[in-house]
Symmetry: C2
C-alpha cells in the first residue's frame, strides 16, 4: 500500500456535491446539496439557489452572520440534522490571521463546511533506529476515530486562541505537559486537506510542531480523550501508516510530513513530490 | 520587507508570454514567444503555431526528441541565441522518476523551459541562538549570481544521476565532503518554482537536505565555484533574506524552508500559510 492513499482519502471533496456558502459575495463555506434542504426552514437567514447559498440581505457583517449561524445551528439541532452544540466557538477569518468573518459552534463546522485550524504536536526522542514517537490511543468513547492512534497532542483552534496558545492549552489537557516544557516545541510547518465526511466536510489547516521530550517525561492524559500513550519508532509508525488504518485519518498526514522532514521518506520514493505537494493543498478542489 | 517577496520573485511566470512545447500532445516545456521565432529555422524539427510549438511529425519518442533538441541546440548557439553547450545532459521525464521523455544540454534548458531537478544541502551545527549555517559565497566569475551567498552545497541533477547521487557528487566537489560524511545528510523535503529569466525560464524542483556537521568539519571548495565559506546563525541568515538580496534568488527559498522547519518562522507570521504553500507550487501558473 502507499502513503499517497491517505492524502487521497483526506481530499475526497467533489465541489459538484456541494453548494458554496456566500457572505457578501465571498465563499466562506460549502454545504452539501442534500444538507442544503434543511436550511430552507430559515428563509429569513439564507437565500438558497441552485448554485449557491447566500446569507440573506442585510446579513453582511461578522455580528449579523454569527447571530444567523447561531440561530440556524439551534434550529438544525432541534430538527435532528446534527447532534448538539460542542460549546466551543470557532472563528472563520478572511485568510489566516485575517479579519474575523463570523464565529460558529464547533459542532456546526462540518455542516457549513467552513475553514478550521488546528495544531498537532509530534513528541519524539532519539531511538535505536532514528526518532521514537509518543503515540496516543484515543478513548473508545470519542465520537471521531475511537480507539485509533493519535499524536502526542492535537486540538482544534477555538475563537480567540492563536496557534501557540492552542498548543499550550491542549498539551496541558491532553498530555499533562507543563508550559515550560511545551514552550520547547518548534513550529515545523503546516498541512491542508478538504474532505467530505458523513456529517458534511472538513476544510482543515493543521499547524505542526515537534518537541524532543526529555528522558524523564511521560505524558499523562487529563481530559479522558486518550486511553494510553506508547512509544513507537517513527519507522514503525510509518510502516503502520503505509500498511494499516490504525491511525486517525488526519494523523497519517502528520506522520507522513514527519517522515518527509526527518529523512525517513526520501526522494527515491516515486510519490515523493506528490506527497510534499499533496500535504500543502495540491489535491484540494473547489478553490483555495 | 517580507519573506514572501522572494517567493513572488521566483514565480514570475506569465503563461501568456510563452508557447507550450508539446511532445506527442503533452506539454514538456515553455518557449518564450519572442524566442520562438528563432525556431522557425528548424521547420523539419518543430511545427510552430500561434498557440503552441510541437515536435514535427515522426518525432515522438525519446531518441528522436533528444536528437531534434541536440540539433536545435547547436543551431541556436551558431545563431547566437544562447552561449554554448554546458556539456552536461539533463533528463526530462514524465513526472518525478517517470519514464524518460528526452535529454537536452543543460545550457538549452532555460530556452526550452523544461522541468529540471536539483539538490540543496543546508549544513548546520548548534549555535548560541539556535542553529548556525554554513554559507558559501559564490565566485565572482560565476555566470549566475556571482558573489552572492549560497548553501553549503547545491547542484543540478544531470541525466543518469538520482537525487542522492547528485548530493554525494556535489558535496565532494563543492565542499570537499567525504561520502561517509555526506551520507549523514537527511532528506527534508522539496520546493518548487517557475519563473521567467532573461534567457528564458526556470521550472525547478529542488530536493532539500539538512546535515548537522561535526565540530571538526570545515568545508573547502574544490571546483572554483565558491570563493569562501562562513558560519552565520540561521536567524542572521533569515534577517538577510528578509531585508536584502545578498542570497542567490532560489537560496532565499531554501532558507525560508529551513526557517519554517526549525521553528524560526512560526504560525504567528501573517504570511505563514502563504509561505508553506508557496514553496510547494501554489504560486505556479501554467499547469503542474
Amino acid at each position: 500500500m502507499t502513503y499517497l492513499r491517505h492524502l487521497e482519502a483526506c481530499n475526497r471533496f467533489d465541489p459538484e456535491r456541494f453548494l458554496p456558502l456566500l457572505l457578501a459575495g465571498r465563499r466562506v463555506g460549502f454545504v452539501r446539496r442534500d444538507n442544503a434542504r434543511a436550511l430552507e426552514a430559515f428563509a429569513h437567514l439564507f437565500r438558497i439557489s441552485s448554485d449557491a447559498i447566500a446569507f440573506a440581505d442585510g446579513i453582511d457583517g461578522a455580528e449579523a452572520a454569527t447571530a444567523a449561524l447561531g440561530e440556524a445551528t439551534d434550529g438544525l439541532i432541534r430538527a435532528g440534522v446534527f447532534d448538539k452544540r460542542r460549546g466551543e466557538l470557532f472563528a472563520v477569518t478572511d485568510g489566516w490571521r485575517g479579519p474575523l468573518l463570523f464565529e460558529l459552534d464547533r459542532g456546526a463546522v462540518p455542516f457549513f463546511g467552513t475553514r478550521s485550524y488546528g495544531v498537532h504536536l509530534n513528541g519524539w526522542r532519539p531511538g535505536a533506529d532514528g526518532p521514537d514517537l509518543w503515540i496516543g490511543k484515543r478513548a473508545m468513547d470519542k465520537k471521531i476515530a475511537p480507539g485509533q492512534l493519535d499524536n502526542l497532542v492535537a486540538g482544534g483552534m477555538g475563537s480567540g486562541y492563536g496557534a501557540w496558545e492552542t498548543l499550550l492549552k491542549e498539551a496541558a489537557e491532553e498530555a499533562d505537559m507543563p508550559e515550560a516544557l511545551t514552550a520547547q516545541a518548534l513550529a515545523v510547518g503546516a498541512i491542508r486537506y478538504r474532505t467530505e465526511l458523513p456529517d458534511g466536510m472538513r476544510d482543515d489547516v493543521l499547524f505542526l510542531y515537534d518537541i524532543q521530550t526529555p528522558t524523564d517525561f511521560t505524558p499523562r492524559n487529563t481530559d479522558g480523550e486518550i486511553e494510553d500513550f506508547r512509544v513507537l519508532s517513527a519507522r514503525e509508525c510509518l510502516a503502520l501508516v503505509r500498511e494499516t488504518d490504525q491511525f486517525k485519518f488526519n494523523v497519517n498526514l502528520v506522520l507522513i510530513d514527519f517522515g518527509l522532514r526527518h529523512g525517513l521518506i526520501a526522494p527515491e520514493d516515486q510519490d515523493y513530490l506528490a506527497l510534499v505537494e499533496g500535504l500543502r493543498g495540491s489535491l484540494i478542489r473547489g478553490g483555495r
